[in-house]
């Protein structure tokens, strides 16, 4: 069945490279991760991503990024990595005192 596809004659890999797909809706919201596609190169990835993730319109821009180029945070490190540093109370407006009667501060 698929054995000929697994072979690497002329240096072919068994599986086309993976790309992450990001789509932007027309309402001005930022690009958002939609999923992934396999493709040999960026142009093919863009075409595949269009067919899979922009089939029903509602997309004004597409990004494709080789999956192995993404560096992601490690969720086990979340508490320390995303520490909101709540001890920096001076980053909140409630920290400051204003004279009474002054408006629109």
């Amino acid at each position: 069945m698929t054995t000929e596809n697994s072979s690497t004659k002329s240096g072919l890999v068994a599986e086309l490279p993976l790309w992450e797909v990001f789509t932007q809706p027309p309402n001005g919201a930022p690009h958002e991760h939609a999923g992934s596609v396999h493709a040999a190169d960026a142009e093919m990835a863009l075409l595949g991503a269009r067919d899979v993730y922009a089939r029903r319109g509602n997309v004004v821009s597409l990004w494709v990024v080789p999956t192995n180029m993404i560096t992601a945070s490690v969720s086990q490190d979340n508490p320390a990595f995303f520490d909101p540093m709540d001890d920096k109370v001076y980053r909140h407006p409630q920290f400051y005192k204003s004279p009474k009667g002054v408006k629109n501060l």
Binding site: M1, V13, A40, A42, S75
Partner: protein
């Protein structure tokens, strides 16, 4: 792929080796996250059984979308009008897209597309039994949309709240697109139900053949479903197979009555107190016969998928050869 790597042999659904043991502290923390309704993401710690069951469920689901194109493709060239033909083509294209959404999600669990494809093509992987039944008449295409997509929507609406983020997000995407599938099927049936006596007979015959296989789509009864308890506890599933089956029956019977159709279940009876229908049991022997490869179309479906894959090999090779020649592959530039 950004999932943690995993021993590939774990993904073998027939694997009988002892289950790997999870760190009890990590497991407790995981279950607390589940109880807080947090979403589990690819890089998060998860129990081995959670990963394994998700790969099993998601890959079966993706394979079903792909194989599900075949019984409908049977009627593209024979659709009764250009309108019906365009609708059918668009629906089948959606099914291909839906398969790809779910494959993409499955790969985040650390299994490669290559392996998923090989498991389908070799016959090792399962897909929904329903697609091993033949589409004999045009009425079958109506019934597939109404019953089969209807049942899939019942299932997927609940899976859209599954605890695993990539699966839930793929379901949200699919549910948005799938409602037209059911409505176009019901429309085909509604037109035939108002047609000639021969068309009415043809429609009723299709209902008779598809009713029980459609009910089997929800899987074995809760008593016979070994994975259900764990999947419910980890919120991969949120309703039992029997609950979803009942929801489908309660939704579908009034629709059938509106078209003057009956379903082939002598036990069917409306309970006026609960508003639910009491019903008979599907023939589970048939279910297990079909799942083990002995349905009417198992061999034909696998042969068609293999042919499609083999016929497309030159395209994949040409794309790679072009990328290599022009130094476009991301594998070359990446570290």
């Amino acid at each position: 792929m950004y999932g943690a790597s995993v021993d590939q042999s774990e993904t073998n659904s027939g694997d009988k080796r002892p289950t790997l043991v999870d760190d009890p502290k990590a497991l407790a923390a995981f279950e607390q996250r589940i109880d807080r309704e947090e979403t589990i993401e690819p890089k998060d710690w998860m129990p081995h059984a959670y990963r394994k069951q998700l790969i099993r469920m998601m890959s079966q689901h993706a394979h079903s979308e792909l194989v599900g194109m075949l019984p409908e493709a049977n009627w593209i060239s024979r659709a009764p009008s250009l309108r019906r033909k365009m609708i059918l083509l668009a629906k089948i294209q959606d099914e291909a897209g839906h398969g790809l959404y779910i494959y993409s999600g499955t790969e985040t669990l650390g299994i490669s597309r290559q392996q998923l494809t090989e498991e389908l093509l070799s016959g090792k992987a399962k897909y929904s039994n329903i697609f091993n039944y033949p589409t004999l008449t045009w009425a079958d295409i109506g019934i597939v949309g109404w019953f089969v997509d209807g049942a899939a929507i019942v299932n997927q609406t609940v899976l859209a709240k599954a605890s695993y983020g990539p699966y839930a997000r793929a379901m949200v995407r699919i549910c948005k697109e799938e409602n037209f599938h059911k409505k176009q099927g019901f429309e085909i049936c509604a037109v035939m139900a108002r047609g000639t006596s021969e068309q009415k007979r043809m429609l009723q015959d299709a209902v008779n053949r598809w009713w029980w296989p459609s009910l089997m789509m929800f899987g074995p009864s809760d008593k016979e479903s070994p994975n259900s308890a764990l999947l419910l506890r980890w919120r991969v599933k949120r309703k039992t197979n029997d609950e979803l089956r009942q929801r489908f029956i309660d939704m579908t019977i009034p629709q059938a009555e509106s078209l003057g159709l009956t379903v082939p279940d002598p036990m069917l009876k409306l309970d006026s107190v609960s508003g639910s229908y009491a019903h008979g049991e599907p023939n589970w022997d048939e279910f297990f016969q079909v799942i083990n490869g002995n349905g009417p179309c198992n061999r034909e479906r696998l042969a068609s998928r293999n042919k499609a894959h083999d016929d497309g090999a030159w395209v994949r090779e040409a794309a790679q050869a072009y990328a290599a020649k022009h130094d476009l592959s991301p594998l070359r530039t990446a570290a």
